[in-house]
Subunit: 198 residues, 4 copies
DNA sequence: CATGAATGAGTCTTCATTCAT
DNA sequence: AATGAATGAAGACTCATTCAT
């Protein structure tokens, strides 16, 4: 009955199953047995791939962030490298849009009981990676003379917060018109606020 | 042995104890016994004041939001009513500062396991009340001719997100200098972005 | 707010409330608070009238048995004292009929978790009083030459068992026709089995 | 530390332990921990075999009834098929005797708090199976011309009630002499009441 | 006498984790 | 490597009972 599979695939299957369940029932309600059952393996197998139940979360979060960043970067890559404001705008809007494709996934992954995994959850929760990407963009754009930014890091923090919360808010508001208006506002911010004065 | 107290006080004490513990250990980790012990009452007493363990959260969240809004409104009230940009700036900065006075409290109160209480938790989580206050300010300021805002609601959503996440980020970054820089950036936003062109 | 009432009445009210609730929810599910609330008194008051929660049961059982016996004896009293078989028959049938008027009451009162009140519950459960009445009748009838009974006590035990269980069974079967047939059978028993040979 | 056993055996052991304890302390007083401790397993194991504490009852009742019926049928099988009265008499007396071998077991198994499991508990409590066997015997005996019975079903109900309650009564009375006298009375009933007139 | 806030022992149930097979 | 039976610590919740007012 026991069918050996490549370790990486097993791990992936477990991760997929967990993600699915997490989105459905929330973190607290998903048991290890739920996950292994959904993945079609025995309970014991879980512990060959993860040291503890909580470890899945870290992996899933990393995966989600990567996916999101990929989507944003890909959208951004279509624009001309010199179009700094446009690229940032595109990057931000892609973030909102991608999030809204499957908001439940993000919510369950990142709205965690504090202190559950420890303290490293915070860095992911707070979007260090995203902020870092934004900061780089802003800095590069400013250094290249394409953006008017006084403090790239602070701006990155606040800008990321805008869309991060904005997306959350839009999900809860569930108002498509508002979504478009907020996106328009983001674009406006990028244009008026970031564009160089010339 | 049983020392009767006014119901409202008992409830408050339980709430205080819960808040304290929540900030320390996170929601998931706080047991009813923890709370009652900290409040100096027996386990059973808890259930005279709350129907279930989860009920405390709603109360605490409401309390936190109220406190935060009070602090922001109070700070804002010191400025001249016509100083729209200044008032908004002050309101926003007061939010960050108040949050940073006890960031753990906010984090544990609002970063919940998805689907736990389920219902209206989302609206609190997403800061409907704060956004609403901001929107009112922006609308009033625009109508009074003191602010240049295209879409007050969208702006409110994004602006609130900026400081909401900004505060979170600053807490995790734990860098006082960055805090000041971000606050400066917020001020800059308010000035350059919201002030009328004249 | 505290309104003093004659002790006996208070006790009665508590008993009534308990009986009502017992019939509705079963013994295990009825709490002291349920009872006191239904009786319109405070929890503490309960303990002025009963030493413990379980004491109500004894009282209620006694009350029920008394009522049942009264009904049976009254029905029996309408017949001529010399009509031994008829009186016994009437007494038995009255027992079944009275029971069927409110079977839930009996069930909740007597189908108890064993050992709950201790051991004296058994005597009530097993109908010592009823058996004793029957035994007296049978003995008297035999001694008066009106009944053919070899062993009045054994006969009483078995006869009482017949109708006791018969009533229970009829309640569960919920078949009015069967009820009448069983009652007819009881009458037949009494006639053919108990009547003197002449 | 974990010693795996065949599921059926584990289940049996848990059932045995529960039965033992039930007889000793009554249903309400037996905790899941009592049972698992007596069975030598951990508390959690209980819930691998039963969905809830209450589930044990159904299983035990079924087991008891089966055992009792087996004993009665076996005793009856020793007699000649045509000896209808004798077979019924034997069946009845075997019921009493078997019951008296371990009366506590029956008492605790069937004297339940009303409404606990609720559903089909009643049919077991009221001895549907036993009554059915008796009814069959009486009908067959009558049809074969070996018994004088007007209404087999009613007779079965009352007859079963006689011995059912009789056994209970005898257990509580704890008087061996009375036991024999009651059994003699049962025999007399069967002879005089059921035998054909010839 | 009556009240009802407070007590706290007692139960059921869940589930992460282990480990003999 | 995989299995899944077994573990047992942990926690939520109930409720009979007490007692200060």
């Amino acid at each position: 009955m026991a069918r050996t599979k490549p370790a990486e695939q097993r791990r992936s299957e477990l991760l997929d199953a967990a993600e699915q369940l997490l989105a459905q029932k929330g973190i607290a309600a998903v048991t290890v047995e739920d996950i292994t059952q959904a993945a079609g393996v025995s309970k014991g197998t879980f512990y060959s791939y993860f040291r503890a139940r909580e470890d899945v979360l870290g992996a899933l979060r990393a995966r989600y962030i990567e996916t999101l960043l990929d989507a944003q970067n890909e959208a951004m890559s279509l624009l001309h490298p010199d179009d700094w404001a446009g690229r940032i705008e595109t990057w931000l809007v892609a973030g909102i849009r991608t999030f809204l494709l499957d908001p439940a996934k993000h919510n369950t992954l990142f709205h965690l009981p504090h202190g559950s995994t420890g303290d490293d959850a915070g860095s992911e929760e707070v979007g260090f990676q995203h902020v870092e990407v934004l900061r780089s963009l802003l800095t590069a754009g400013r250094d290249a003379g394409g953006l008017r930014v006084v403090d790239p890091e602070s701006t990155a923090v606040l800008l990321y917060g805008s869309i991060h919360h904005g997306a959350d808010y839009l999900f809860h508001a569930a108002d498509p018109a508002l979504t478009e208006r907020v996106i328009a506002e983001v674009r406006r911010w990028c244009r008026s606020f970031i564009l160089p004065e010339l």
